[in-house]
């Protein structure tokens, strides 16, 4: 009731989450932060990591995100994420194969691969697995 605020998680594909929440904790690029009712206007970039939401019923939801921006304004929070998947919707086998693929690439040290990209892919896959397994 009193200490809730609105949260929206949007990705280029769709609106992933929309509703009243009690608290949101996000992986900011410069460290984790938590947003509660009446937070000051705030803009931050997001790293690859997990977003934890406590909704108005007190239930906890976890989303794996891979970069984006968070914006807080007058009890209205928006997460613009590149991707966002709820913990129980993550495709574990796909994440595992992505992890293997990325590790394989990094091991080969071939010149024609983009090492930075492979490392980012690896981080995303590991993050997904981490979020999926801790249900």
């Amino acid at each position: 009731m009193a200490h809730h605020f609105e949260l929206e998680i949007v990705t280029p594909q769709k609106k992933e989450f929309s509703g009243n929440v009690e608290s949101v904790s996000c992986p900011g690029e410069q460290g984790r932060f938590q947003v509660l009712h009446n937070h000051a206007p705030f803009l931050s970039t997001l790293a690859i990591g997990v977003v934890k939401i406590v909704d108005e019923q007190g239930a906890e939801w976890r989303y794996a995100v891979s970069g984006g921006v968070a914006q807080v304004f007058h009890n209205n929070m928006q997460l613009l994420a590149d991707t966002a998947e709820r913990s129980d919707e993550i495709d574990v086998t796909r994440a595992q194969s992505a992890q293997q693929r990325a590790e394989e690439r990094l091991r080969q040290h071939a010149e024609d691969i983009d090492e930075e990209r492979a490392r980012a892919a690896l981080m995303r896959a590991v993050n997904r697995l981490k979020v999926a397994q801790k249900i």
């Binding site: 594909q13 609106k15 410069q30 705030f42 921006v69 590149d82």
Partner: protein, 297 residues
């Protein structure tokens, strides 16, 4: 009068063609709906991102951002030409190709003369057209446009942006079909890089221009982080638009083809009937005159 069997086989031929065009129309209609859904569900993101970029641009000095500063001399141009992979969609591909060609030979004639206009072809149609005619193809993507994801667009745009910042290109522009309505497509050219001014100038959005946010990291770093995202999304949007436009164009083209086939069948049926009647009449005449000849004897 054509012979009966010939007409009948033509009728059958036209009929089976019309079945195909009918089916293609249905498929295009289903795909169109999916394409439109994709556009609609991307809107919240588009709206928020746009607002953020505008908000930040109002607060930072544009000249510090290399993606925004116009190069004094535009030497190398990259055109992203978005067509379809397949034909049978009316003038969809032809229009794009014609427009792109015109753009190369008129607007960028000076650069083209020095061989400094490169093309990034998305869709097989554009690629096969331009590669056969000796244009400089910087890259091509086939089999992507009808199922392009945001990640696909990001990879492509990331590469282009890097080359732009390296000075490999001075101007990047995309040419595509915009989805106006099911029966209408509009050809559009949009400047991607440098980031066009007028786009960020309009502040009609009710964005909180003067709110003091806490920025983490600083405004300028946030901006540098957001601009690639903005560009990636622009390209993704272009792909979605073009896909929807393509399905719409195919739907109308196939609908027209089906109607034509029906008319054709109708006409053929008429001439088939009259040919049949004529042959029966001749037969009766022959029989009657034969009988008469017998009677006369």
């Amino acid at each position: 009068m054509a012979n009966l069997r010939e007409i009948r086989s033509r009728i059958n031929g036209v009929r089976s063609t019309s079945k195909i065009t009918q089916a293609m129309k249905m498929v295009a209609a289903a795909k169109l709906r999916r394409a439109q859904d994709a556009i609609v569900s991307a809107r919240p993101y588009a709206y928020s991102l746009d607002g953020l970029v505008r908000h930040l641009l109002a607060r930072v000095d544009r000249n510090t951002l290399p993606v925004m500063t116009k190069r004094e001399e535009v030497e190398r141009v990259l055109l992203v030409v978005v067509t379809a992979d397949r034909g049978l969609c009316g003038a969809f591909n032809t229009n794009i190709i014609r427009h792109a060609t015109q753009r190369i030979h008129e607007t960028y004639a000076a650069q083209h003369e020095k061989g400094n206009v490169s093309l990034l072809c998305v869709g097989r149609r554009g690629y096969s057209h331009f590669s056969k005619r000796g244009y400089d193809i910087f890259g091509h993507h086939i089999g992507l446009i009808n199922s392009a994801t945001h990640a696909d667009a990001s990879v492509m745009m990331g590469d282009v942006l890097e080359r732009y910042l390296n000075g490999e290109f001075d101007h990047v522009e995309v040419i595509y079909n915009e989805f106006k309505s099911v029966i209408q497509q509009r050809i559009r050219e949009e400047q991607l890089l440098p980031l066009p001014e007028e786009k960020v100038e309009e502040t009609e959005g009710q964005y909180h221009q003067f709110v003091d946010y806490i920025y983490e990291p600083s405004e300028i770093e946030l901006m540098e982080y957001l601009i690639p995202k903005h560009l990636n999304f622009q390209l993704y949007r272009v792909f979605m638009e073009s896909n929807a436009a393509e399905q719409g164009a195919r739907m109308t083209a196939m609908d027209a083809a089906t109607t034509n086939a029906k008319e054709l069948i109708h006409d053929l049926q008429l001439s088939y009937n009259s040919a049949r009647q004529a042959s029966i009449t001749t037969e009766i005449l022959e029989i009657v005159s034969g009988a008469n000849a017998l009677k006369a004897e």
